[in-house]
């Protein structure tokens, strides 16, 4: 599957490169649906410029990125060439040497002879391919930097972030599919499924192309392309969340804790992903989710300790970068108190624009609780299906967060091919797709009418925002219904009958 994936990556990079060179890049970077005050590239440049002049980048309401982002971009922008060449070198070395490492790990775990391990050293072919790839990467990077000037070099950084996200999603869905198939096999063997639900079972044949479809849905999604061309840091946030999902599905609790801490550090909302990750690990380690058992609490505390510990370490590191706690009110205070009311595709700006100051605290609490509120009930309902819970949580975050952009929407939309087996149970496909398409088209139109032509007002734009979010909520609820319905049918049979023998219908209560 490497070849189609590589082809997909090349196509995606080409599309983005073409758009970067056209005049649309400037236009897209200024669209409010694509960039928000939290992740606009313009603001990153401002912050870096302020830093170079010796002023704290958080002074004035301009820059709302975390200090590690400052470090990343400062590092990238100044040493862009070296960074990319060296990182290409490292990735190459890793891919060349890690395979033997993995094999060695497996070999040790299964007690092979030590002499067998000698064959795990990177072979001749691998070394040659490593060498060739290095040369190719060097030439590519040099060529790229010859044609660009300084501040636009980070376009490559955003494209790489998109590539990393796609790759991480691809690999995680691959792992997930293997997991799903394995569980299905066990369930069939233990007769937990009813007799007439053969059509609902999943086969490897239909699941074969799903990872590729997931990567495609992410890379070729117009929302992602827009977000990448606008150079918004949403792409990097998505990459961190995708890597987190990958590490969780691979089973590495430490890495998953660290990446979740990094994602939470970027914007606080991924905190809600702690619950599904925890549920996944408990399931994997066969620890029952029972509040009275000590093994449950033991693992929960371990994972929570890793998560909170890495969060503390990362926050401490950020303090040492700039020497002050300025970033906490600028980043987290900004996310929670929503002072900037530029219109976006979210629900906050209109309410807060027309609200009296007296009620501001109350309403901001209410709106923020809305994001975190659905975690516990959904976790209880979706105890055995943590990956679906991750999908739902990401969707809820991107609908209800304080400054959503289309990049956030693109992340959960990438998961949709993984649930393509639910097609027969989805009820609102036509409605949802029409609403989402129409709203995406109407956003720029009504913005133009409101701001430039002056013949509409903010109510028009807000109506479309509301409709867009309604469409998203409907999409998520639909998938939720379909998933639960399929689970119900698996255990209770496809053709349901009421007690007196007539056909029954299933209702989600």
């Amino acid at each position: 599957m490497a070849a189609p994936l590589t082809l997909l990556l090349i196509v995606a990079v080409t599309i983005r490169a073409v758009l970067f060179r056209s005049s649309l890049a400037e236009l897209i970077s200024a669209r409010v649906e694509v960039v928000s005050p939290l992740n606009a590239w313009k603001r990153v440049v401002e912050g870096l410029a302020l830093l170079d002049l010796g002023v704290s980048p958080y002074s004035g309401d301009v820059f709302h990125e975390t200090p590690l982002m400052i470090y990343l971009f400062h590092f990238t922008v100044d040493y862009a060439e070296i960074v990319f060449i060296v990182s290409a070198y490292f990735v190459d070395c890793l891919s060349c040497f890690l395979k033997p490492l993995d094999r060695a790990k497996m070999a040790i775990n299964s007690n092979y002879l030590k002499s067998d391990l000698l064959f795990n050293f990177p072979g001749c072919c691998e070394l040659i391919s490593w060498f060739i790839t290095i040369i190719v990467c060097l030439c590519f990077c040099k060529f790229h930097f010859l044609c660009t000037c300084k501040y636009t070099d980070v376009r490559l950084c955003h494209q790489i972030a998109d590539g990393i996200t796609a790759l991480a999603l691809y690999l995680s869905i691959q792992t997930y599919n293997k997991d799903v198939f394995r569980k299905q096999k066990y369930a069939l063997e233990s007769d937990r499924y009813s007799a007439d639900c053969l059509e609902l079972l999943r086969s490897p044949k239909e699941m074969f192309y799903i990872p590729l479809k997931v990567a495609m849905f992410y890379l070729l999604n117009p929302f992602t392309i827009l977000s990448c061309v606008a150079k918004s840091t949403c792409g990097l946030n998505n990459a961190i969340i995708a890597l987190f999902i990958f590490c969780t599905l691979k089973g590495s609790a430490l890495l998953s804790g660290i990446l979740l801490a990094l994602a939470t550090y970027q914007s606080i909302y991924p905190l809600t992903l702690f619950a599904p990750a925890l549920l996944f690990f408990l399931q994997r380690l066969y620890i029952p989710v029972n509040l009275r058992r000590s093994s449950f609490w033991f693992f929960t505390l371990q994972y929570a300790f890793m998560y909170v510990g890495s969060l503390v370490v990362i926050t401490g590191l950020s303090f040492f970068l700039l020497g002050s706690w300025d970033f906490i009110p600028s980043v987290y205070g900004f996310i929670f108190s929503v002072p900037d009311l530029t219109p976006n595709i979210g629900l906050f700006w209109y309410f807060f624009a027309e609200m009296f100051e007296h009620f501001r605290l109350f309403f901001s609490c209410v709106f923020q609780i809305n994001v975190f509120f659905y975690t516990i009930p959904l976790s209880i309902k979706l105890k055995e299906h943590p990956v679906f819970l991750i999908f739902m949580q990401i969707a809820i975050i991107s609908i209800f967060k304080s400054y959503p952009t289309v990049g956030d929407v693109a992340l959960y939309m990438a998961f949709l091919p993984a649930w393509s087996h639910l097609y027969r149970f989805l009820r609102n496909i036509f409605l949802v797709s029409c609403v989402l398409l129409a709203c995406s088209a109407l956003f720029p139109v009504l913005w133009h009418l409101w701001i430039y032509a002056g013949s509409a007002n903010s109510n028009f734009y807000y109506a479309i925002t509301l409709l867009f979010n309604f469409g998203q909520i409907l999409l998520v609820a639909d998938y939720f219904y379909a998933y639960l319905r399929r689970e119900h049918h698996l255990t209770h049979g496809l053709y349901l009958k009421k007690k007196d023998g007539t056909e029954a219908t299933l209702v989600l209560k």
Partner: protein, 357 residues
């Protein structure tokens, strides 16, 4: 021996006693010279008449003179600075909030204490003439007025695009040399200056002072009629020319001047000969009553007050702030990469490496 001792003691005592007299003579001479120039306060009107990114050098010119004038003692309240001020925050500026005058970005003349009095579209011929003649509406704030009196020495510096007998303002209007001469005559009639130094750095700049007819005017221009003033060096990172040749060498000359310096106008006339400037700088002193050799640079460029003379200030702190790039602290880099390495080895297990190598 005794006689010799007595003689030396007497000479010594005589010297001791005479030193304060010599000093006071020196001070009196200085004071005399000070009062002979006739001014008690200094003003500067610095105008850049161009806008748009490719006229970066005119803004850098004006700001360099502004900096020198401020450094030599004229306070912001006595400087009327007129700029289009669209360079520092121009979206084409790769180093925002800076205007450089030397390539390799050695000297940021914009700094963080520049006070522009007329910015953007306020730099018009009408505003300029109103500032000079003082005929401003009563609501104009003090910072926008030239509140000079008959004991003021005024420095007027103009830069931009000009031609034979005119100077272009903001690409939309012109001021002619006759208008300027009439404005200066109005100033003389209203006793708004004691002596006036007029410096212009444009193409065919000498044409602008041809028509002056009021007394106590001295004028310098960067080029003669029929010649163009050339720009100095482009900066490849910024992409435009940073300064004009004449003002560049003028700035270099002024960097050597400190408040107690005795450099006079003859040295100023020698700034930027044709070998360096390609154009021939010109000057006009026939309307000036004093001998240019006795006119100090600090009479116009600085604000030397009487009490300063007693101290004979000699310390020069000509700062050339180096543009420093921010670097993250070393401890942070160390900590971050150590953590990354730790996590890497934790995940992949260091004992596995031992088995391979």
């Amino acid at each position: 021996m005794d006689y010799y001792n007595l003689l030396t003691t007497c000479a010594f005592i005589h010297l001791l006693v005479s030193i304060p007299y010599a000093y006071s003579n020196y001070v009196e001479n200085k004071a005399g010279q000070f009062f002979s120039s006739g001014h008690t306060n200094n003003w500067a009107v610095l105008v850049c008449t161009s806008r748009f990114w490719f006229n970066y050098r005119h803004v850098a010119n004006t700001l360099s003179v502004y900096r020198s004038v401020k450094r030599l003692g004229i306070p912001d309240s006595h400087i009327v600075l007129m700029l289009a001020d669209d360079m520092a925050c121009n979206y084409r500026n790769p180093k925002p909030a800076t205007v450089f005058s030397h390539k390799n970005m050695e000297l940021n003349v914009y700094g963080d204490d520049v006070e522009v009095d007329y910015r953007g579209y306020e730099v018009t011929v009408e505003n300029f003439l109103r500032v000079l003649t003082g005929r401003l509406p009563p609501s104009t704030p003090r910072s926008k007025r030239l509140l000079s009196d008959d004991r003021s020495n005024i420095l007027i510096y103009l830069t931009g695009h000009g031609g034979n007998g005119f100077l272009k303002f903001q690409d939309s209007e012109e001021i002619s040399n006759m208008e300027l001469a009439d404005a200066f005559e109005q100033m003389w009639q209203k006793r708004r200056y004691n002596e006036l130094l007029f410096i212009i750095d444009t193409c065919q700049g000498a044409s602008m002072y041809e028509r002056f007819y009021s007394p106590n005017l001295m004028a310098l221009a960067s080029s003669q009629v029929g010649e163009d003033s050339l720009s100095h060096q482009p900066d490849l990172a910024i992409g435009v020319h940073l300064m004009d040749k004449y003002t560049f060498y003028l700035l270099e000359f002024l960097e050597e001047v400190h408040p107690a310096s005795q450099a006079n106008m003859n040295d100023l006339f020698k700034v930027c000969p044709q070998s360096q400037c390609v154009s021939t700088p010109g000057h006009r002193t026939d309307l000036f009553q004093r001998n240019p050799g006795s006119v100090l640079i600090t009479d116009f460029f600085g604000s030397v007050l009487l009490h300063d003379m007693k101290q004979l200030v000699a310390d020069v702190s000509s700062q050339k702030p180096k543009q420093k790039d921010w670097h993250p602290p070393d401890g942070f880099i160390l900590g971050l990469w150590t953590l990354i390495l730790l996590v890497f080895f934790q995940t992949y297990g260091i004992k596995h490496l031992k088995h391979i190598f």
